[in-house]
């Protein structure tokens, strides 16, 4: 049952990912990405990572993708005539070749890596219990991983400052209200993430 569901979700995730990179309209692309994320969140859930699944939905679907949609709608990039992107013609050989080579290298790497992975599956008891108990994660986060945690906070602070600077720079010129809001929203939503994890872990 769960296995079948996993394969179905994996297939859906791949399908959505293909949608992400092949959609002509950014709107469809972003929506496909949302679909992929939801599929992945369900995969996490199946794999025994409840907290991560919730965090995935909460952060990605709840905040980041809304932000993406907001920007797409704000810029109204759906005007295909303006985009004028003809994948077959405009990509050019070098680009396709590079992409193919990269994918090939990745494929080889993946094969090499998976050769080292022990075969078999996770302990079903562990899956049922869950891998991401809140308390162990919280303890680890505030003891062993305190430095990365603080570094991440710093990163978010820098992000916030950076986004505000980006948004504020053209204020005197043609900065439109919604655009400014969007940037502010982006900055602040990024800033608020660690609080969620920090407190949720208690």
């Amino acid at each position: 049952m769960a296995e079948t569901l996993f394969y179905a979700l994996a297939l859906a995730a791949v399908g959505f990912s293909v949608g992400v990179i092949s959609a002509r309209s950014p709107m469809i692309s972003v929506l496909s990405l949302l679909g992929a994320f939801v599929c992945l969140a369900l995969v996490y859930l199946l794999a025994g990572f409840q907290f991560l699944a919730a965090a995935q939905v909460l952060v990605y679907a709840g905040a980041i993708m809304v932000l993406f949609l907001f920007v797409v709608m704000l810029l109204n990039l759906t005007d295909l005539a303006k985009v004028a992107e003809h994948p077959t013609r405009a990509l050019g050989l070098p680009r396709v070749a590079l992409a193919g080579a990269s994918a090939g290298v990745l494929g080889v790497l993946a094969l090499l890596a998976s050769a080292n992975v022990p075969s078999g599956s996770a302990d079903p008891a562990m899956v049922a219990q869950g891998f991401d108990g809140l308390e162990p994660i919280a303890v680890a986060l505030f003891s062993r991983y305190l430095l990365p945690f603080e570094a991440a906070s710093l990163l978010l602070l820098a992000t916030m400052v950076g986004v505000i600077v980006l948004a504020k720079r053209q204020r005197g010129a043609a900065a439109s209200g919604p655009a400014k809001e969007a940037a502010a929203v982006a900055a602040a939503s990024a800033a608020a993430e660690p609080q969620l994890e920090g407190a949720g872990a208690r």
Partner: protein, 339 residues
């Protein structure tokens, strides 16, 4: 009572809860009109059935028979699916609301909720947050500038207030030490423990404000905002799809009211009656929930709509700092073992 297998009990539970949810949503459409009428010295719908109780039915029949229009240039798939996306998350979110404790039903001991999750509060927030996609997509796919603006506003508003909402809940979560709603509710049942509304008044206030913002209700209903945006995201909708948006809105209101009851009013706890039987607790829970639903309507006909920049200012400059402050203060008090 005959003994039924566990799965049958679960099916019955789910059916009853979802039926009740839809019933409450339908009644809310009537209550909305009734309360608005009362506040305006009017009577409200009273023609269909006794006291107009069958009005939702009549409305539903009318909606079904209305012509369905899809605007020219709209994205038909997204346009069709958006109302369902708006209604579905709220219905999913109600699954983890603990209406009452363990009860004996058809020979099985079971919790009175569709299901229990150790991270149910996060689940409610995560799934409930998805409801915004219906509004955004409905707004975007209508190919109308009013709808688009409605969708944009909904997106910005949701991102802004989701943070304060989560942070205000986190304070409660920190108090109870669990993300499980049932644990949070049970923690307030003890006779010597105050409800969270007393222990966390600021968090309660913030939660209530965010609750209005999250469900796009007055005074934060910028996504609809009839005077400016005609009908906002649902300007172009008609027939049952239009009704579905409202079903989603009422379901979301119901879920939020349940959440508020669980988080701050101790679920089904009845003061000075700790040994209340489960049906009394359930009734108490429903009463508390109804109070919150009434608050929605009451506020709608009391406060005028904000301006959008005021909304953003309130969200970022007042709500968020207050929520952070409250969280830190709570953490500090817990650390000092005051709680």
């Amino acid at each position: 009572m005959p003994t039924l297998p566990l799965w049958a009990v679960w099916v019955i539970k789910a059916a009853v809860i979802y039926g009740a949810l839809l019933g409450v949503a339908a009644l809310m459409s009537l209550a909305e009109r009734k309360v608005s009428a009362w506040i305006q010295y009017r009577i409200g719908p009273n023609r269909v059935g006794p006291f107009g109780l069958l009005q939702p039915l009549a409305d539903g029949v009318k909606f079904i028979f209305k012509e369905e229009l899809i605007p020219d240039g709209a994205n038909p798939f997204l346009f069709r699916i958006a109302p369902a996306l708006a209604a579905l998350p709220a219905m999913l979110a109600i699954a983890v609301i603990p209406f009452a404790g363990e009860v004996e039903l058809f020979g099985q001991r079971t919790n009175l909720s569709v299901t229990d999750l150790p991270i149910s509060s996060l689940y409610v927030l995560a799934v409930g947050g998805l409801g915004i996609y219906g509004i955004i997509l409905g707004g975007w796919s209508s190919n109308s500038k009013y709808s688009l603006l409605g969708g944009l506003r909904a997106a910005a508003q949701m991102v802004s207030y989701e943070l304060s909402l989560i942070l205000s809940i986190l304070a409660v979560v920190a108090l109870s030490g669990s993300l499980d709603l049932r644990v949070i509710a049970d923690a307030q049942q003890a006779p010597d423990v105050l409800w969270n509304v007393a222990r966390q008044p600021l968090a309660f206030l913030l939660f209530v404000v965010c609750m209005f913002a999250e469900t796009n209700r007055h005074p934060f209903d910028f996504a609809e905002s009839e005077p400016e945006l005609v009908g906002g995201f649902h300007t172009e909708y008609s027939s049952m799809r239009f009704a579905l948006f409202f079903l989603g809105e009422y379901c979301a209101m119901t879920v939020m009211s349940c959440l508020a009851t669980v988080l701050f009013l101790g679920g089904g706890a009845i003061p000075f009656w700790p040994e209340a039987p489960w049906w009394a607790a359930l009734a108490c829970f429903l009463a508390k929930m109804s109070a919150f639903l009434f608050l929605y309507l009451w506020v709608r006909w009391t406060l005028p709509r904000f301006r959008f920049d005021q909304l953003m200012n309130l969200g970022w400059k007042v709500m968020l700092p207050l929520a952070l402050l409250n969280l830190f203060a709570t953490a500090a008090l817990i650390a000092l073992e005051v709680y």
